[in-house]
């Protein structure tokens, strides 16, 4: 194919990122720039009010899309180590940009946007927790939302019923789902594949039904209301703005903790054993991996993360009801993990943004939300069947002492 640009420029990662960013821009253009307006019963499209900040977020989002949609051949720079064709410096730059962006966000955004950002961060943390279970250990847990529910209700009931403060309740919100995950996981983790999935699905339904029917304790379908908001050294309760800022900071900190945890676990023997038993359980066992205990640990750690996410959710909403913990929520969560590319934190984060934030931003297109969702699913299936980030990065790299290094 002939081109006006020099081939070396075209082959450079920057050009590719720009190219895909452009594609992503065209794809998501209507959601950010246009809104549906009701003019005397006739729907028409009109331009959004101009918001520079929103456009900046849009730009960053598109750039990320660009990075992840990079064609696979480009990733395999060195044959021995398939990786992003982004240099370490560029990666560092992106990371710094991201952190700065996340930190100044509460200062420049309005309440709705900050609220949305908090929801997205919590969803990302929850999806990351599920990535440990589904992506790393390969356990298709369709009842993951149940642990989220238990964490949320634990905080809701402890705070409204017994006046336990947020920080005192937090360890319990992790412990309770963990104990539950242990008790449930002990027998059912011996099941394989589909059977495990079905039993966990049933478990989530049992928890939800229990929440609806144990009216005297959980408030039944009405849920629990007036859950106190968290404060830190007296800060965070003054007014609505401060409260929202507090919740955002908490969600951000928690997401960072989960990110650090999952990145670290992956390179430890534990994380490697998870991946090994996902790949081949029999071989793992023949090498001395206690398969059952490894699965149990993934299940319990995943449940703890979900439980704390649940506590944050309850604290943010100030209200919990069984409606927030349906199978559909698990399905969306699973979609984030699978779309993101099983096991890749950034891919999963991107998918979480796509699934949580886009429908919110494009509220005026709410009727077409599922349609759009389906379209994205189909596109991903066609173009990136392994999810956004498919290139698996080894947990350890062999670096020869001398000679060329695989990069």
């Amino acid at each position: 194919m002939r081109s006006f640009l020099p081939p070396r420029l075209l082959a450079s990662p920057c050009a590719k990122i720009l190219g895909w960013t452009l594609v992503a821009a065209v794809l998501f253009f209507p959601f950010f720039v246009l809104q549906a307006v009701d003019q005397n019963g006739v729907m028409s499209l009109a331009a959004f009010t101009y918001r520079p900040y929103l456009l900046a977020v849009f730009g960053v989002f598109l750039a990320l899309c660009g990075v992840f949609f990079l064609p696979a051949p480009l990733r395999a720079l060195g044959q021995s180590c398939p990786d992003f064709a982004v240099s370490d410096v560029q990666k560092k730059g992106l990371q710094v940009l991201l952190v700065v962006g996340l930190l100044i966000l509460p200062l420049v955004s309005n309440r709705a946007e900050l609220d949305l950002a908090t929801v997205v961060l919590l969803s990302i943390a929850l999806a990351w927790g599920m990535t440990i279970v589904v992506g790393y250990a390969g356990l298709l847990d369709l009842g993951y939302i149940a642990f989220y529910a238990v964490g949320a209700y634990a905080y809701a009931l402890l705070s409204t019923g017994y006046g336990v403060s947020f920080w005192a309740a937090l360890p319990l919100c992790a412990l309770l789902p963990a104990v539950l995950a242990f008790l449930v996981g002990f027998p059912i983790l011996r099941l394989r594949g589909d059977y495990f999935a079905i039993v966990t699905l049933g478990f989530a339904e049992i928890v939800r039904t229990l929440l609806i029917n144990a009216q005297s304790i959980t408030g039944g379908p009405n849920g629990v209301a007036e859950i106190p908001r968290p404060t830190l050294f007296g800060w965070g309760a003054a007014d609505l703005d401060e409260r929202m800022m507090m919740l955002y900071v908490l969600a951000l900190a928690w997401a960072a903790v989960v990110y650090g945890l999952m990145r670290r676990l992956r390179v430890l023997p534990l994380g490697r054993a998870w991946e090994a038993l996902r790949e081949d359980e029999i071989a793992a066992r023949s090498l001395g991996v206690n398969v059952h205990r490894m699965k149990l640990s993934a299940h319990v750690i995943g449940a703890m993360i979900a439980g704390i996410c649940g506590a944050f959710f309850a604290a943010k909403q100030g209200f919990v009801s069984p409606e927030s913990f349906t199978f559909l929520d698990t399905a969306f969560l699973l979609a984030m993990v699978v779309l993101g590319g099983m096991g890749s934190p950034w891919g999963v984060a991107l998918a979480a943004i796509l699934i949580v934030a886009l429908p919110e931003v494009s509220r005026s297109f709410a009727d077409y939300r599922m349609l759009f969702f389906g379209m994205v699913m189909v596109l991903v299936m066609i173009f990136r069947p392994g999810g956004f980030a498919t290139a698996r990065r080894p947990s350890v790299l062999y670096k020869p002492a001398s000679g060329e290094q695989p990069s």
């Binding site: 029999i282 023949s286 001395g288």
Partner: protein, 265 residues
């Protein structure tokens, strides 16, 4: 020479089918013992019993390490056969962790050791020096085996992307990283070309005579079996037909009858 593995009166039946019928044998320390026999003779079943993938119907299997007390394999759960007794095995149809890199595969071979060093991940999460040293040692050991197997160049590649012969070698390297007392190889030469199976022969000899690893293997390739084995077991219909040195087995009338038919004997 003392025995590293002593099997007495081992039987395994699936319902009415008797796959292994009261066989007794021993694997000597620091030697290569081969098990041969026609398809369906029960060779892999014996392997699965020894590595406790199956629970034998009856019989005793005792592992006697060079130092320390004897271990009754019967009482160990499958993963403990690898962890405590350090009886490690390969599989007839290669079972690698395909998506994981070659180096990661070999590190999984040292799982129990690293897991202990990371104190079930606590020391690992805190990145204590104790764990860092253990991790470095594990890396060095893994790399030294990869070097011997000629896989150093491919250390960062996904295991599934290796050639067939290299995959077989990786599977052996993965076991070796676990410091085996007994290395069980299920048809290591299957699917190898003549040059690769020659290399395999030399490799197994090196492992046995230089590294002192006792090897117990199942093999159909007679050139491999006859050349390297110290002791050969012949199985047919689940029964031990004959055993002895390659020379003795080669001329044993029952063996000739089983392989070549009634007239040949």
């Amino acid at each position: 020479m003392s025995n590293v593995l002593t099997v007495t009166d081992l039987s395994m039946s699936f319902g009415g089918l008797v796959a292994v019928d009261h066989i007794s044998f021993a694997v000597k320390l620091g030697s290569i013992t081969a098990m041969i026999g026609p398809n369906g003779a029960g060779k892999t079943t014996v392997f699965n019993c020894v590595t406790r993938f199956y629970t034998p119907t009856s019989g005793q299997m005792v592992l006697t390490p060079e130092t320390g007390s004897a271990l009754d394999l019967h009482t160990l759960s499958p993963y403990k056969v690898a962890k405590k007794a350090r009886v490690l095995r390969t599989f007839q149809n290669i079972r690698l962790f395909g998506q994981m890199s070659v180096l990661e595969n070999v590190l999984i071979g040292q799982h129990s050791l690293l897991m202990r060093a990371s104190s079930c991940s606590v020391a690992g999460l805190l990145n204590l020096r104790r764990y860092r040293t253990a991790e470095k040692d594990a890396m060095d050991l893994a790399l030294s085996w990869l070097e011997i197997m000629g896989l150093t160049e491919d250390a960062n590649r996904p295991a599934a992307s290796l050639s067939y012969g290299a995959q077989r070698r990786l599977e052996i390297a993965r076991c070796l990283a676990g410091r085996p007392r007994l290395l069980c190889l299920d048809e290591p030469a299957a699917g190898l070309n003549p040059k690769e199976s020659l290399d395999l022969k030399n490799l197994l000899k090196t492992l046995c005579y230089q590294h002192g690893i006792s090897i117990f293997l199942i093999e159909h390739d007679m050139s491999v079996v006859m050349d390297i084995s110290d002791h050969i077991l012949v199985l047919d219909y689940g029964r031990l037909l004959a055993q002895g040195t390659p020379q003795a087995v080669r001329t044993h009338p029952d063996v000739i009858r089983a392989y070549l038919g009634e007239d040949a004997a």
